[in-house]
């Protein structure tokens, strides 16, 4: 494990032991700092959100904040800043993955129609799940681990070999202690 990998593991260990709400507040502050430090990144987010908000407002959809952002630069900037906060929060959630339990997931994840999942997952039948890498990969991984069962996922390898144990642990930790799933050829 490289120094970078050790630092990531240590940060994850600490994050798992601090109150979640406080960490999210810290993530918000980090997001604000990130927003100010990366104007180019903010410009890209601004372009994307401007396009989305304009399209939604034109068709009468979206929340009031989204519709306002279509024409009001101040409202748009609030969304851009919020995007950075949520991105920072995402990293906190990733760091806290090893602490996630089945109860944590059940408390926060509500399935609109559980029968759809029951229909897709039939013991003894192979199923293929496809996820688009737009949102939190970890949430989908946790969902599969706790609600579906043993699942195999092909993953791209990381360039930094020292970080591989960190990323593998993120995905594997939720089930490794419960069902003895082996990590096979991971990262």
């Amino acid at each position: 494990v490289t120094t970078r990998g050790r630092i990531l593991l240590a940060a994850s260990w600490i994050a798992c032991r601090l109150p979640e709400r406080s960490l999210f507040r810290l993530a918000g502050l980090a997001g604000d700092w990130w927003y100010r430090a990366k104007p180019g990144r903010a410009a890209q987010a601004r372009r994307n959100l401007q396009r989305v908000c304009t399209a939604l407002a034109a068709s009468g959809r979206g929340s009031s904040a989204v519709r306002a952002a279509a024409t009001d630069p101040v409202a748009l900037e609030r969304l851009v800043r919020s995007a950075f906060r949520h991105a920072a929060r995402y990293y906190v959630e990733v760091a806290r993955n090893p602490a996630v339990t089945r109860e944590w997931l059940d408390e926060r994840l509500t399935l609109d129609d559980p029968s759809v999942l029951a229909e897709a997952v039939i013991p003894g039948n192979a199923s293929v799940f496809v996820g688009l890498h737009f949102g939190s990969v970890e949430l989908a991984s946790l969902f599969m681990a706790f609600r579906v069962g043993e699942t195999v996922v092909p993953m791209e390898t990381l360039d930094d070999p020292g970080s591989r144990p960190t990323s593998s642990r993120r995905a594997v930790a939720p089930v490794s202690g419960s069902s003895g799933c082996a990590k096979r050829g991971a990262n």
């Binding site: 709400r21 999210f24 990144r41 890209q44 372009r47 994307n48 959100l49 396009r51 989305v52 908000c53 939604l56 979206g62 989204v66 851009v80 919020s82 995007a83 949520h86 991105a87 926060r108 994840l109 509500t110 399935l111 609109d112 759809v116 229909e119 997952v121 003894g124 192979a126 199923s127 293929v128 799940f129 496809v130 688009l132 890498h133 737009f134 949102g135 939190s136 949430l139 989908a140 991984s141 969902f143 599969m144 681990a145 579906v148 069962g149 699942t151 195999v152 996922v153 092909p154 993953m155 791209e156 593998s168 995905a171 089930v175 799933c181 990590k183 096979r184 050829g185 991971a186 990262n187």
Partner: protein, 166 residues
């Protein structure tokens, strides 16, 4: 969850032969990889080698994060399962569009909560037109010609007929 390197096709087929669950994660955000139908095609190719082709009949649609409950909960809904009856280009394109529509419905609830830091749309009108042309080609039943390959006159005529009929 067991991870395997994504290029290890032998292992992927092995999972399917053993009738185990397989999760595939498809990234679509990189501009140079824009494609009108990669998400479903990868699934179909993987399943096709094991006799399970054309069975993936429940396209799970993405999670929907409600901003009002963002601190405590993530509601997940599936608009309606999409059936992919075959690996024909038109079916792949239709299913991919259905996935994109479902994803759009999830994102519109709170677009600022999604990853916004990459160029997600075509940079130029020409690139947009090229993507549209490729989608039309697939709707007309032809394999995706790839970026920058002009369709033949006959193919373009078929695509126009499909567009006019839709």
């Amino acid at each position: 969850v067991t991870l395997i390197p994504w290029r290890n096709l032998r292992e992927i087929f092995g999972v399917l032969r053993r009738r185990e669950m397989l999760g595939l994660l498809v990234g679509l955000g990189l501009p140079r990889r824009r494609h009108p139908g990669p998400a479903v095609r990868r699934v179909d190719d993987a399943a096709g080698g094991t006799g399970h082709a054309r069975r993936q009949d429940g396209l799970a649609h993405p999670a929907d994060r409600d901003p009002a409950r963002a601190e405590t909960a993530v509601p997940v809904s599936w608009p309606s399962p999409s059936t992919v009856p075959s690996s024909e280009p038109a079916e792949l394109q239709r299913a991919t569009q259905a996935l994109a529509d479902a994803l759009g419905a999830a994102i519109r609830v709170a677009p600022e909560q999604w990853y916004n830091f990459k160029p997600l749309w075509p940079d130029t009108e020409a690139e947009a037109a090229d993507l549209e042309r490729r989608a039309h080609a697939m709707q007309a039943g032809r394999p995706d010609p790839g970026p920058g390959h002009p369709a033949s006159d006959a193919s373009a005529a078929v695509a126009e007929r499909v567009e006019a009929a839709s």
